[in-house]
């Protein structure tokens, strides 16, 4: 088995430190959450939750139908027009960290009734949510290392030492 496999899995396991009840308001939410806790290629980092609450105000913009005001999206409203807040609102509560494992794929195949068959994995959901919104709002980081600095293992993985030499070569 290749040695970097645990690194990938590690990077996959972006996890939120707490699953917090959000029934009444966003006030009970944590101010800061450590993300990418088991990341190997990229280091864990602090997500400033408080700042996002302040800037966005609407919890459901990120948390969908699980908390905050009810969703407005016509597609979601079909089922979630009257959904009550869920007990678990963390990303990993719904988005699997192993979306393509044989077990997850088999589960999807057997549960024919499931509507959200195309649900993103945890890593995909978080990156799309963050980078998507940052790009749309033209605010906030979009580069890999703007959020999570790369580890030494990550440097080796991306052969980052190869940049300077080839850059010089190309110029000449």
């Amino acid at each position: 088995m290749p040695s970097y496999k645990p690194l990938i899995l590690g990077a996959l396991l972006l996890s939120m430190s707490a699953s917090y009840p959000m029934a009444a308001s966003c006030m009970s939410a944590p101010d800061s959450i450590t993300l990418n806790t088991t990341g190997k290629l990229f280091l864990p980092f602090q997500f400033n939750h408080a700042k996002h609450i302040q800037d966005i105000k609407e919890c459901s913009d990120c948390h969908h139908h699980t908390t905050g005001t009810l969703v407005q999206n016509p597609k979601c409203v079909k089922c979630h027009s009257n959904s009550s807040p869920t007990a678990v609102v963390s990303c990993k509560g719904c988005h699997s960290s192993t979306p393509f494992s044989p077990e997850t794929l088999a589960e999807k195949r057997t549960e024919k009734q499931r509507f959200h068959l195309d649900k993103m994995g945890l890593k995909g959901a978080m990156h799309q949510n963050c980078i998507g919104c940052h790009t749309k709002m033209a605010a906030g980081p979009t580069g890999c290392q703007d959020c999570h600095p790369r580890s030494k293992a990550g440097d080796a993985f991306y052969n980052s030492d190869k940049v300077a030499s080839s850059h010089g070569k190309k110029k000449h």
Binding site: F100, R109, G124, Q128, S160, K162
Partner: protein, 302 residues
């Protein structure tokens, strides 16, 4: 009389072989892939061109160090293709368009009916039931027919190896991952889930569902669903496929359909033609029997 019997046998044998071959060819042309075959759906609207898939492929397949780092975006200045040192590459298209740039990952598409496999006369290629097109370097004679046959220009050849040059291409991480049900390394590392791994039949449904749900976001076509008889790798895009490096003139017929009739003819030609021309020769010789006999004897003497 011996010669006549021999010729008869040739004709009968040739006819049998050619019929057999043709039937086999028809069967192959209607093959729609293994039912449990896996695949990958590339959603180009999600790709951000981070090149992590290239790095993951490099490490998983123990490929040589790249010339420049995998974070170097200057590689996008030119359109690249996979080779023996990189089984997958990401290219940038539509650079100055309003919705652009659009990134597209290229690798072996793992056809249901691979042209490489069809062209290989030593059977070095196998389409596994998991959907991967794998390659056995031990039987390869290095003819590189597969490189010419591949409609996607995928297989690379390790020209740099003096002693043992072999054909190299993406094998869907068959040996290390796919065989045990795991997704390929590129899929595992993709931060944007631009690559979705699953059963090919499920992915086709999923792709059409995405188009149906977001008609403004996608072009109403799943590349690889039908192209060349279908491929294990499928694609979605927001722009037209020909603008992001796809050959949209390939059609839906697998490559084998273009050659199966011809290949069915080969044994016939090999067996009937000698008989036919020998017959003509004998007939023409019959008219000048004495002369012919003499010539033959003379030739035998030499």
């Amino acid at each position: 009389m011996k010669r006549r019997n021999f010729l008869k046998a040739c004709v009968i044998g040739g006819a049998t072989i050619s019929l057999g071959k043709t039937n086999k060819g028809w069967a192959a042309g209607s093959f729609e892939g293994y039912p449990e075959a896996m695949g990958v759906l590339t959603d180009t609207t999600r790709c951000i061109g981070c090149r992590s898939c290239e790095a993951a492929c490099n490490k998983e397949q123990n490929l040589p160090e790249p010339e420049t780092s995998f974070q170097d975006k200057r590689v996008f200045e030119e359109e690249r293709r996979p080779d023996s040192k990189a089984y997958t590459v990401v290219n940038e298209y539509e650079k100055k368009q309003p919705g652009g740039p659009v990134y597209r990952k290229i690798q072996c598409n793992h056809c249901n009916e691979p042209a490489c496999l069809t062209s290989c006369f030593v059977n070095a290629y196998t389409k596994t039931k998991e959907g991967a097109v794998i390659y056995n370097s031990k039987v390869c004679v290095g003819c590189r027919n597969c490189m010419i046959a591949c409609p996607f220009n995928v297989p690379g050849y390790s020209y740099e190896s003096v002693t043992n040059p072999i054909v190299k291409k993406c094998i869907l991480c068959y040996d290390t991952r796919l065989k045990v049900g795991k997704p390929p390394a590129c899929v595992d590392i993709c931060p944007q889930e631009a690559l979705t791994f699953g059963h090919r039949s499920d992915l086709i449904k999923l792709a059409h569902e995405r188009i149906r749900e977001y008609p403004d976001r996608y072009t109403d076509h799943v590349f690889g669903e039908k192209e060349l008889g279908g491929t294990s790798w499928l694609y979605l895009t927001s722009t037209s496929f020909d603008k992001i490096g796809f050959d949209t003139t390939l059609g839906n017929e697998p490559i084998i359909s273009n050659v199966k009739e011809f290949l069915g003819m080969v044994p016939m030609v090999l067996s009937i033609w000698p008989a036919l021309f020998s017959g003509i020769h004998l007939l023409s010789k019959g008219k000048h029997d004495d002369h012919g006999e003499q010539t033959e004897t003379k030739q035998e003497d030499h």
